[in-house]
Amino acid sequence: MSQFVCVVVLAVTLLLSPIGLVWAQTGEVTIAVATDPLTLDPRGASNIIAWSLAYHIADPLVGKDRDLKIVPLLAESWDRPDPLTWRFKLRRGVKFQNGEDVTAKAVKATLDVMIDPELAKTKKIQVSAFIRGNFRTVERVEAPDPYTVIIKTKAPYRPMLLGLAQLGIAPASALDGGEAYIAHPIGAGPYKFVEYVPGSRLVLEANPTYWGTKPAFKRVTVRIIPENATRVAALQTGEVLAIYNVPPDAIDRLKGNKDLVVQDTLTTRYNYLYLQNDRPPFNDKRVRLAINYALDKDQITRVIFKGLAKPASAPMGPATAFFDKNLSPYPFDVVKAKALLAEAGYPNGLKFVMGTPFGRFINDRQVAEAVVGQLAKAGFTVDLRVEEWGTSLANLMARKYDAMFGAYGGSTDPDYMLSWLFTAKSSVVGFNKPEVETLLSEGLQAPDDATARRVYERIQKIVWDDVPLGFLYFQPDIVAFNKRLKGFGPRVDEYVDVREARLE
């Protein structure tokens, strides 16, 4: 009998033991993210999770470190012989994970797919619109010898290196690999793709032949846990060593655990209300200003974000290059808001419809509801429509509502951050200022950083003064992890990054 009890106890213990073992084994690490990467093909990656995980598998020509400094990866050096030409010298003796050599031919094949939509189509390669956008000015790519790549652009293009840093290079054979490559991406990065189970996990293993600093982990498992409470619990139990997208309401609980660290950073992301600038009532600048004075940014950042968000002071997040530090948030002033509203012809207040997605941005619904309450005090009656993201996005693109709560971010380049909303052709708020568009193209062609800074600060000032949006706050990126994990933390570009992480 007692033997039987022993066996049962032993069996139960064994069954229950996977907890803790996950990271007790040396050289393995498990982390958790909230979003599915969907694809790890560096050419087709369409969200930050996917770009950053693909960045572990496939090295680009150049990389960006935690401070967003461009560093050499597959290209060991580069120059710009004339404003339309970029010339890269490749590192010699580097091999892809399938044994193919990293040559100019592979770089050209990867880039050709970006600049030639027909090629991508015939080869059945899904190209991310975002990544393709980085190469819209490229005219052609040349490979005069196996270790030289020349990129010719139609016009001078300042953010070329940043664009290249977001495109992992695939082997030349991937051009014909089509969907086989999507199922098993190969690159010349520090980690090799092992498996990706949508909605569950991505597994990577160390690439022993990596040309650079050898990866610290034998195996990296990235679990996809969209449910906030479950993700937080997985960190608390030690099943995972780090989690991304920490919900602000879990911060205190996590900080109470002495083994854990919670770190946050502001990113490129900023949150705001889309206002329809070309139709009543928001075609009147006074009404838009009234909205901006009526919004109590401090209250939202303090109460909903536990002080980790900051009131917005520019039309792009502070991690964006050439961010203008000299602008300041519109103060909270209900009296002024009411006066402006009366002056605009709405002495008895104004009623409008506002949409908001829910479950898309951190605390989106809470913020939208707080905004409705704040605006009410200034005389606005807001009819709030809460919708899931698919519907909300469709309504945003159709410009269905007078206003909408939303956010934008993702690239650290100001052109990306500014040109979508503030170019008439693509603006979903009806923004139309030719002056800004001229400046945007000057910024893209800027020969040096000083010129670029002058141009982008000018654009930020014009946009800020014109109040095309109801500016709200800069949203933080919050990461929590075990203290033993070093070389790890939130990045201003929101990248998931274990390239240089290690365990102590």
Binding site: P18, S46, E179, G199, P226, T237, L393
Partner: protein
Amino acid sequence: MRNYFQQVVQAAIVLLNVSIVVFVLVRVVPGDPARLMLGMEASDDAVRAARTQFGFDRPLYIQYVQFVGGVLRGDLGQSVRFRRPVGDLLIESFPATVELALAATAIALVLAVPAGIYAAVHRGGMLDRLLMAGALIGQAMPIFWLGIMLITLFSVRLGWLPTSGRGSLAQLIMPSVTLSTYVMALLARLTRSNMLDVLREAYVRTARAKGLRETVVVHKHALMSAALPIITVLGLQVGALLSGAVVTETVFNWPGIGTLALRAIQQRDYPVVQGVVLVSAALFVLINGTVDLAYRYLDPRVRLT
């Protein structure tokens, strides 16, 4: 034989209707798979091109004919987001959900039927009231909340069970218990009320009068007839289990068709949504067909008519 044929025809009609409903529903809901995939800053041209590539620009009736034609050839189409055959995604996800549903059903049966019998036999007793109050709470409790409470208690506080994921037996415990609660409560209440009805029947009185032991009366004579409606209800609960699986799988990050369906709906991945719904409906029809057959086997009255 004619009966079986009728059943197969009925099943085919049901599935045909399901295919039409799901095909129309996913397209009626606002949202554009191409726009969701490419993002807000993608140009309208790029979005149009993607729509053409997926074939979503073709007239609806052509898309429908292609969908049904594909299904008849065993091809459920290709996922927009994962660029993989829907069939493959389903084959990867279904075993996880079946495992979860079977475990939940097993837990429900093992706990609820004895509880229901006990409550019926000791009707009005303290334990009967407790059990039935428990069943009521179980039926009313949101699965989502229960799941998070279990994680908080058994993973975070006590450290006994892993929070989520699939792989070990330990990871199966909390999700299957969570999913079982609704069915369990229903089964306990149903067993109790059926047993109460049956225990009043004349043949039970006869059995008792014959001097049979009470356990034999209850388990052989009464339970056998009380079991029939329980089996029917269990068959119908497959639907509840599948919908409960969506929530349970989300909370416990269980990689089954529930999480697949949820993601596909969020991304408007039409082929995947269609595939999940159609295959789930087929499963539902199949199980209810099986329940019908089981009925014939268990109930001589049905066999003879």
